[in-house]
Amino acid sequence: MIPLSHAHERWILRILIAVFVFFLLAPVVWMISTSFKPPEEIFRTSPSLIPDAPTWRNYLRAFTETDILKYLGNGLIVSSLNAGLTTVLAALAAYGFAKFRFRGRKGLMLLMISAQMFPYAVLLISIYPMFQWSGLFDTRTGLVLAYLVFALPASIYILFSYMVNLPDELIEAARMDGAGEGLILRELILPLVIPGLITVFLYSFMWSWNDLLYSLTLITSEDKRTIGPGLLLTFLGEMEQDWGAAMAGSVIVSLPVVLVFSLLQRFFIQGLTAGAVK
């Protein structure tokens, strides 16, 4: 912590925070505002924050004139699959890393974490031909696998830091009681790291829900399209831009995540800071 002994130092901090919050929230506020504006108001040279003549028309159009529900469904399928798979795989791997001593454990862990260091877009260059060659191109399975590459390392690390803090004696007691490793993981470890599991699930869900680049590149058929590319390609063509409906669509697709996140944020924060303070 920085000691803020003087009043003016505290003021500087407050201003910095205000600027930061402004940059974070302004686009969101603008999105909501725009989604209620009729077209003529959107393109006014001196825009207002509160719409003069608020309207639901953009929402109505987003629902009736576009395939947004289909994109939502696709997004939900891909994101849930990714989140579920990531959580299961990360739990298994983290248990291995945290509670078993094997040759190459540290090296493997390091390798896995360093995979995280590659820029997101760079990996796409190698994923693309791999998917084309293996038939995973333009499939939901392929997209889920591509997301796994990114969601998994961080997820393993989050769960690792949870599990490594569980006392070994607990596992030994279960072994003495006759529990096999599968049962120990299911009955003992997982119930004790539920906040970690929720964190990992949310993290990987948001990852894929918010993605544009991979989904846009790896999915070409319209009926498999997820929300990111769906919104982009529906409303923002080369010739015309329907900002009102685009913003309404954006609000609609943000809502589920905002809702889930606000319900579970307590666990999420706990999850990210676990092991930091003991």
Binding site: P167, E172, A174, R175, M176, D177, G178, A179
Partner: protein, 352 residues
């Protein structure tokens, strides 16, 4: 109940041996304490018996059948851990019944056995609670209950009382002794606390640097310590040791036997020393005390001998001697312990 025999047991981590060629026989229903300072290998030995550590040589048998190839749960041993290791998200009832549930016992039978064990330990009212709602002593009881429920041949205790405060520890010692009598099981108890070992065990096995230094009843190891390590480790305050090469007058007090036995060190317990009057040139042992700790009637006198070695005397008459003056100390020749040049007890004991 089982007869446990450990033969030629060896355990090493890579090239670092913890112990080698260890032999130990534990009788049916015996309460045995493995006592030693930290790092002596006592916990590792217990974990080898439990099956939580792989042994690298030798054999462990229960009633003549080897168990070293068996997984921990099939060895018929139950373990009570230092940290209790209760499953935090399960109720006391589920904690105690977990092993039976895994063994696919019918629910009625699980309930019956859990309740029977709870009655033995007086924890019936705790059954619906979770570990975090319990005090340290209650958690310890539940951990013991979890072991009892399995009806094991052998109970293994790994420093089970060291997380409790002094008062509770004393109470649990009595309870464990009572429990041992009640369920009449073989118990192996690891501790670094000599009081626990002395008060509860039928037999104490003293381990140091991976070797068994002595094995005997509490009285035996106190009265006839096998070597200097045991002599210093058992008994509080620790035994005073004097090299006879420098304290030749002491040899005179003990008589000719010290020399004939090849004794090089003379040991005497603090409460066998008697503080006399002012020292004279002919006094064989002279000390000057600086600190007096009063424990009520008992007083611990700490000081230095005339040759500058530390000495402790324990008196029970409630009288504190003068400090800072040279005083004469005396003792009965029969109460000393003699050790040879390797630190081992001289044959035929110390005393005449």
């Amino acid at each position: 109940m089982a007869h446990v025999s450990i033969e030629n047991l060896g355990k090493s981590y890579g090239a670092t041996p913890v112990f080698a060629n260890l032999d130990l026989d534990i009788e049916h229903g015996e309460f045995i304490a493995l006592l030693g300072p930290s790092g002596c290998g006592k916990s590792t030995l217990l974990r080898c018996i439990a099956g939580l550590e792989q042994i690298t040589a030798g054999d462990i048998r229960y009633d003549d059948s080897s168990i070293v190839e068996l997984p921990p749960s099939d060895r018929g041993a139950a373990m009570v851990f230092q940290s209790y290791a209760l499953y935090p998200h399960k109720t006391v009832r589920d904690n105690m019944g977990f092993a039976l549930k895994i063994a696919k016992q019918p629910p009625e039978q699980i309930a019956e056995r859990v309740e029977a064990a709870a009655r033995i330990l007086n924890i019936t009212q705790l059954l619906p609670k979770r570990p975090r709602e319990l005090s340290g002593g209650q958690r310890q009881r539940v951990a013991i209950g979890r072991a009892i429920v399995r009806d094991p041949k052998v109970f293994l205790f790994d420093e089970p009382l060291s997380n409790l405060d002094a008062e509770l520890r004393a109470k649990m010692r009595v309870e464990l002794s009572r429990l041992h009598r009640k369920i009449d099981a073989t118990m192996i108890y690891v501790t670094h606390d000599q009081i626990e070992a002395m008060t509860m065990a039928d037999r104490i096995v003293i381990l140091h640097e991976g070797k068994i230094r002595q094995s005997g009843t509490p009285q035996e190891v106190f009265d006839r310590p096998a070597d200097i390590f045991v002599a210093r480790f058992i008994g509080a305050p620790a035994m005073n040791l004097f090299p006879l090469s420098r304290y030749s007058e002491l040899g005179g007090v003990v008589g000719g036997q010290a020399q004939s036995l090849g004794a090089e060190t003379l040991g005497i317990r603090p409460d066998e020393l008697v503080v006399g009057g002012k020292a004279t040139p002919s006094s064989p042992l002279v000390a000057r005390f600086e600190v007096i700790e009063s424990l009520g009637r008992q007083k611990l006198l700490h000081g230095e001998t005339s040759l500058g070695d530390e000495i402790t005397v324990s008196t029970h008459d409630g009288v504190a001697p003068e400090t800072g003056v040279d005083l004469e100390l005396s003792f009965e020749p029969g109460k000393v312990h003699l050790f040879d040049k390797n630190g081992n007890r001289c044959p035929d004991g110390a005393s005449a």
